[in-house]
Amino acid sequence: MKTRTTLKTLRALLVTTALVAAGAAAPTFAQDRGGVMNILARQLPSEMGNIKTTFAAGTSGYIFPVVETLVGVDPETGFSPTKLATAWKVADDGLSINFTLREGVKFHDGTDFNAEAVKWNIDQSLAKGALDTVESVSVDSDYSVTLHLKQPDSTLFKALSWYDGIMISPASVEGQTAEFVASHIVGTGPFTMEKFEQDAKVEYVAFADYWDEGKPYLDGITYTVVPDQNTAKTAFLAGQAHVWDYMDSRNAPELRDMGYTINITAGLGRIMYPDSVNADSPYSKLEVRQAFEHAIDKHAIVDAFGYGTWSVMDGPCADIHVGCDAVSELAYDPALARDLLAKAGYPNGFETTVYAVGSVEDEMMTAIQAFLADAGITATMLKPDPATGAALHAEGWNNAMYLQGLTTDGPSFAAALSVDGPVPVGKAPVTEVPERYNELLAQVMAATDAESERALSAELAQFIQDEMIYIPMFVTSRNAALGKGVHSDLEAYSVHFWNPAESWIEQK
């Protein structure tokens, strides 16, 4: 019975936030029209095509001019019906959700966005094993679909405001050649993809039939790849670009002093998965895993390289995660680290490898390495190429640490773990995961009111720390610098808040 009432509360909450978001006032000043916004990016995805079957990590920032999600997100109020769904209703038992779709929306290829298109997109996600709490999708009418769930799932809205909520044109995939599919991304967004050159640039132009009339303000958006930060800085300062995205944090204070708008948002939490399964790995001993965290002066690293934009994680989670105020980090204590290592049978330390996947700051790696060396742990720091990274993912990493990200784009700790946690199997194949972890995670995901979610999240976080399932480090930042006269909410990471349609450039 209790669940029933709490589900109602949840539903009420969602509907209310929806109404608030819908009624929220638009910006009060007049936007100039026209111009192409040039954005410098560190990298582009290798492929700009069907994101339903292939997805390269890090694609997110670059596809949101073209595609939209079913569920919108408002940075203030949470999930909101501002994108392709205009309303939703969770059934009393929490086992189905009905979505009312926006009418009059067209895909860039001229086909209609409707219930069939939504079903097709969700089915694509189901086929590849995502959205595992969804049983099936049914089309009720042209603009109404219902998701039928196996169990109530509080993380579903997050998923539908993210990759699995992206709606692309079924006609751009069905019956097309593999090459076409890999090079065409056809969504409903304010811009269409005009030209993509791998590793060089992507050009978007305004979509004339965009459903939100009067938008976008810009004629186009161009991302140019500049891998070298120094080159990017020089180009930005010389006025060659409007926006410098994914700027190193060291440049933030300097550029702010020069009068540029600097947008800083929390990036990924950095966590390390040990090889705790293999008995010959030092990390199979709890003391060694604890020593690892005690050995690293996280505050010193954050102060030195974060320039005020990084923060130390609260134990296994970031500030933003619900329930994490209940836990705190293992403090820097090299003497204790050495004691723990000695207790575990490694009085003279040991040799190990730390693999870092994705874009990881070199400075952070080198600093971690130096602190480990002080405690007697000789670490080789490696940034594996994609193939090696994939092999590690499949086969595990013997006597090594695997550094990866923990998403911080929402308050739900369970949702973050469902993406970046050690399970499902295969995510961190050599990390020991006690059964209790899965039980606790399932409980948090099923929690329906804020209070129990908070309490259970705190319990889960405490359990992860007690067992040192992974070793938490710090939350890095994602920074962008905006040139003068550039207006954009690009700052809001979590890219689903970045609204290219709203961006504009002052025209003189």
């Binding site: 492929e47 090459e179 791998q198 120094n230 020089t234 180009a235 994609p386 193939a387 994939a390």
Partner: protein, 318 residues
């Protein structure tokens, strides 16, 4: 002359085939199983051994190496370089888009190096021991020792940031904007030319000095021809032969330098494609790019050799 051309052509072909074999084998034999790249890109989470075998089969990776090689090389001969694992686009398309960019950079660099390097060497050789000779020697020694990427960064800071004269990076097709196209060429071409300028100046100086001491030049002096005529009509014409070789060797250096210079200046050419493909271990692209780079270098060398044989008949018969 015909036999000479045919012989050199034959040699070049053999070398090209060997390059293709070497690059094909090293990509396959060196550590790192490409199947995992495919797995990752196909988004098959936690692939089972059966799935791996299936994928291997689909990509033809379970066939004998020799079969795979002939399959690939047969494609290359038809202009099909395979499909990129990452972008899933034909490698040939990518190469066709990028090769002209690097070729243009390279051509400008060769022209600039010859236009600056040869006069430097001539002045230096004819004013032996003067301050200008010493300056040329010093400059050319700096030219062959300077780390070009470092120099590129310094240029960028100076010309783009402090003076604001040149765009810091990027590449605009000449058809879009001629002015911008040329402006964006300046710094990369300077960087790519530094080493060849120095090498050509050194070579010109030393071969000219050797020629100057030869009898026919002395005779020309003795006949009372004026200095400029002697240098241009007699000494330079013969002294240039080794310089042509140096220019040919520079082509190799320029192509090599394009990897790092294209990275520094954000130019989407072959060099940057090579760096990206190699660090991604996208073996389909690596193979294609390396074969094209080798073919380009071999072609340049062939042309140089033919030019050489044409200038100096003795070569043809040796």
């Amino acid at each position: 002359m015909h036999t000479f051309i045919l012989k050199r052509l034959g040699q070049s072909l053999i070398v090209l085939v060997l390059v293709s074999v070497i690059i094909f084998l090293s990509v396959r034999i060196l550590p790192g199983d490409p199947i995992y790249l495919i797995v990752q890109e196909s988004n098959v989470a936690g692939a089972s051994p059966e799935q791996l075998a299936q994928l291997r089969h689909e990509h033809g990776l379970d066939r004998h190496l020799i079969v795979q090689y002939f399959d690939w090389i047969g494609g290359v001969l038809r202009g099909d370089l395979g499909v990129s694992i990452f972008g899933k686009q034909p490698v040939a398309d990518e190469v066709l888009r990028r090769l002209p960019i690097t070729l243009e950079l390279g051509l400008w660099s060769v022209l600039v190096s010859a236009a600056i390097g040869i006069p430097m060497g001539v002045i230096s050789a004819t004013r032996r021991g003067s301050w200008i000779d010493n300056a040329v020697i010093l400059l050319s020694n700096i030219g062959i020792t300077i780390p070009v990427f470092w120099f590129g960064l310094l240029l960028m800071l100076f010309f783009s940031l402090y003076l604001g004269w040149l765009p810091a990076m990027g590449w605009t097709p000449i058809t879009d904007n001629v002015g911008l196209h040329l402006q964006q060429l300046v710094m990369p071409v300077i960087c790519l030319s530094i080493f060849p300028i120095a090498a050509i100046a050194r070579q010109t100086r030393s071969s000219l000095m050797e020629v100057i001491h030869q009898d026919y030049v002395r005779t020309a002096w003795a006949k009372g021809l004026d200095e400029r005529a002697v240098i241009f009509r007699h000494a330079l014409k013969n002294g240039l032969i080794p310089v042509i070789t140096t220019i040919g060797l520079s082509a190799r250096v320029i192509v090599g330098g394009s990897t790092v210079i294209e990275t520094v200046f954000g130019i989407p050419g072959m060099g940057r494609l090579a760096v990206t493909a190699v660090s991604n271990k996208d073996f389909a692209v690596v193979q294609g790019v390396i074969v094209i780079i080798a073919a380009t270098v071999i072609l340049v060398n062939l042309l140089i050799d033919l030019a050489y044989g044409w200038v100096d008949p003795r070569i043809r018969y040796s």
